[in-house]
Amino acid sequence: MNAPVNHLILLIVAAAGMLAYDWRKLRGARTIIAYLTLYISGFTIAFLLVINPNLPGPTQVLRPLFLPLAKLLLKH
């Protein structure tokens, strides 16, 4: 549990830094909403990944989804 704590702190610093840097430039409610949507989703995933690096990712979702079609095409 040593490494995650370091990484979490690093991540929080990065998240705070990014927000502090960008915040002044966000103009308009829509922009703020859009920015926060991406920002929160991104860092949520990041936090989850730091805590559990083996979290199933988009690749695991996508690959089985397209496997039948791929098999059909390549006949492997």
Binding site: M18, Y21, D22, K25, L26, R27, G28, R30, T31, I33, A34, Y35, L38, Y39, S41, G42, F43, I45, A46, L49, L55, P56, G57, P58, T59, Q60, L62, R63, P64, L65, F66, L67, L69, A70, K71, L73, L74, H76
Partner: protein
């Protein structure tokens, strides 16, 4: 409009061409050779047809909606809800594809040069550069490749020219030993690179000389095809049947060079080519994704979108990918093809049908009219 800058058709085509060549130059030979063997140089020629169709599709859509990107005309064509959904899916594809490129870059650097540096430091440094490029606007994104093209060309020639001594053309025979099938399977594997051309749609509205668009874009496909083909010929005539064994045959080629026992150890040049190309490729995708995202949300500027998308690209590049071999997996190729090639094509088909059935309902851009 979100972007005030204008680029020329030449810059546009160099940008697209170098972006597609970015990862394919290094990793494609090994992947294509698995099935195509000595016919691997034919595969790019097969797949160029797909490239031509894709570019033509984007061109037609651009003619129909000269000032819009895919994200916008998806809404115009499919209606608000379906359009936004398709646009969102497409944006995920762009981000995901760019993230995969970043992952390949990180893997290569980590495997061959910086063995102990953590992943996210390599990817992070790369993204930092791309972030700077992308937030400086379309003109920077498009002029950077033009600026670096001579350098990359020089480096590539520095690897090709000394290799000539080791070339044995008889290795390419027998041509089409088992018919066209092996090279076609190789071409299918190349499909994981060609869809990157679809990101062109984010740049098409900002050309200042749009009448040259089609020729320059097709030219870009031709150059990519020829470069790949020539690379494959050189790689196969030098390394031979052993290409299949290597993940990065292009680097093996560079390492194998021994020109009068003095001009050796050229792998660092490969790294330079690779870094430059990847910067271009990622900023190509990053700018497109940021612009598309801003348009999807209906924002007034795309710049606030760049940092969070960087973040997402970084995440996707590390998330759930244990091994570098995923790129060549057929299901990924299918995914790329569906979103990078079928999606624009279907949009064009739907647009065509709508034009046929409801002439009066068509969006207010009659063909042939160009807007400033």
């Amino acid at each position: 409009m979100l972007e005030k800058g204008r680029i020329s058709a030449a810059q546009f085509s160099i940008l697209a061409g170098m972006s597609v060549l970015a990862t394919s130059l290094l990793t494609a030979p090994g992947i294509v050779a698995i099935d195509a063997k000595q016919d691997m140089w034919i595969s790019p020629i097969w797949i160029s047809s797909a490239g031509f169709i894709l570019v033509w599709t984007l061109y037609k859509l651009n003619q129909a909606y000269p000032d819009q990107t895919l994200v916008e005309y998806a809404v115009s064509i499919l209606g608000r809800f379906a359009g936004k959904t398709v646009a969102a899916l497409y944006l995920v594809f762009v981000i995901f594809a760019t993230a995969n490129v970043l992952r390949q870059f990180t893997d290569f650097i980590k495997l061959t040069f910086l063995l102990t540096t953590p992943d996210f430091v390599i990817s992070g440094c790369m993204l930092l550069v791309c972030w700077l490029v992308a937030r400086s606007g379309i003109e920077t994104v498009a002029r950077l490749p033009m600026l670096l093209l001579p350098l990359v060309t020089l480096f590539v020639l520095m690897i090709y020219t000394p290799s000539i001594a080791d070339i044995r053309f008889e290795r390419l025979t027998p041509v089409m030993e088992k018919g066209a099938v092996p090279s076609l399977i190789g071409a299918f594997r190349l499909l994981s690179w060609m869809p990157a051309f679809s990101i062109m749609n984010f740049y098409m509205p900002y050309l200042n000389n749009r009448k040259h668009l089609l020729y320059w874009s097709l030219g870009s496909v031709v150059v990519v095809t020829l470069t790949l083909s020539v690379t494959f010929v050189i790689v196969y005539t030098v390394i031979g049947a052993a290409v299949v064994n290597y993940t990065y045959p292009f680097m093996i080629l560079a390492r194998y060079i021994s020109f009068t026992e003095f001009f050796e150890h050229l792998e660092s040049i490969v790294m330079m080519i690779w870094v430059i190309q990847i910067v271009i490729r990622i900023s190509f995708g990053l700018y497109g994704a940021a612009l598309g995202m801003a348009q999807c949300f209906g924002l007034t500027g795309y710049k606030p979108m760049v940092p969070p998308i960087c973040m997402l690209i970084l995440l996707f590049s590390l998330w759930g990918i244990e091994n570098a071999q995923f790129v060549s997996s057929p299901s990924m190729v299918v995914y790329y093809t569906l979103f990078g090639m079928m999606l624009p094509f279907l949009l064009l088909v739907v647009y065509g049908i709508r034009q046929l059935f409801a002439e009066s309902d068509s969006p207010g851009y009659p063909e042939g009219e160009t807007s400033a």
